[in-house]
């Protein structure tokens, strides 16, 4: 089961967790990315490429499902403007065994950073700026390149 959502509404952790539980899974791992509250950002706006986004997330989820034998995975990404402390993205992966659930979650969040068409714009007191991609993100994504479709 693959559940992808790209939405302006707040992410409900219990609801996303519940989507992947059941079906005999012994292990559920999740990752939630949150707008930092400690670096002077007043608001974060996520722009995306609507015609492409869900397919890109589905591809990432399907890859992880194959590689780690997941029983279910959900990737919910918020778009639009959000405030410090609000959730940007949630990945939840269910598998028979714990290491598969955890590794699948790590792979999905790393690949999300480099293979999904989102762009972050931060509002600071001094004005707005587009977040620059980080070389570390490419390196983290490259780690998963073996064994992918």
């Amino acid at each position: 089961m693959i559940d992808i959502s790209v939405n302006t509404a707040a992410i409900d952790v219990a609801a996303v967790h519940a989507l992947v539980e059941g079906n005999g899974a012994g292990a559920v791992a999740t990752f939630v990315g949150i707008v930092r509250t400690d670096d002077g950002v007043r608001a974060l706006t996520l722009e995306h490429y609507p015609a492409m986004t869900k397919a890109a997330l589905h591809h990432i989820a399907a890859d992880a499902t194959r590689r780690f034998g997941l029983s279910a995975i959900a990737i919910h990404h918020r778009v639009g403007t959000m405030l410090p402390g609000e959730r940007i993205v949630m990945v939840a992966a269910a598998a028979p065994h714990r290491h598969d659930a955890l590794a699948a979650t790590a792979q999905c969040i790393d690949l999300l950073k480099t293979e999904a068409p989102f762009w972050k714009r931060e509002e600071h007191a001094a004005g707005a700026r587009w977040v620059e991609a980080r070389a570390g993100d490419d390196a983290a994504a490259a780690k998963w390149s073996d064994g992918r479709a």
């Binding site: 996520l46 490429y49 492409m52």
Partner: protein, 85 residues
């Protein structure tokens, strides 16, 4: 052939448009060539496309390198490196 061209993030802001529909000359065969041609359209386009090494692209909604062909494509998107997640 007419092409839908989409811009995101600061590329969109500099161009001043989210989308335009254009018919590039026949000798524009790759994304990089398209970027060079677009740069001449306006000062905003020039500001957006002056440093191609800062740009990434999707052709028909698939991420593609700038050397990729646009032959037969109906939609090309040009944007900075992605920063989601």
């Amino acid at each position: 052939m007419a092409l839908t061209i989409l811009y995101f993030a600061w590329v969109r802001e500099r161009v001043g448009l989210a989308e335009e529909r254009l018919t590039p000359p026949d000798d524009i065969g790759t994304v990089a060539q398209l970027i060079g041609w677009l740069a001449q359209r306006s000062p905003g386009h020039a500001a957006a496309f002056g440093e191609p090494e800062r740009l990434r692209a999707a052709v028909d909604q698939q991420f593609r390198p700038l050397e990729a062909t646009i032959s037969g494509a109906s939609e090309v998107a040009i944007f900075p490196p992605v920063t989601g997640g």
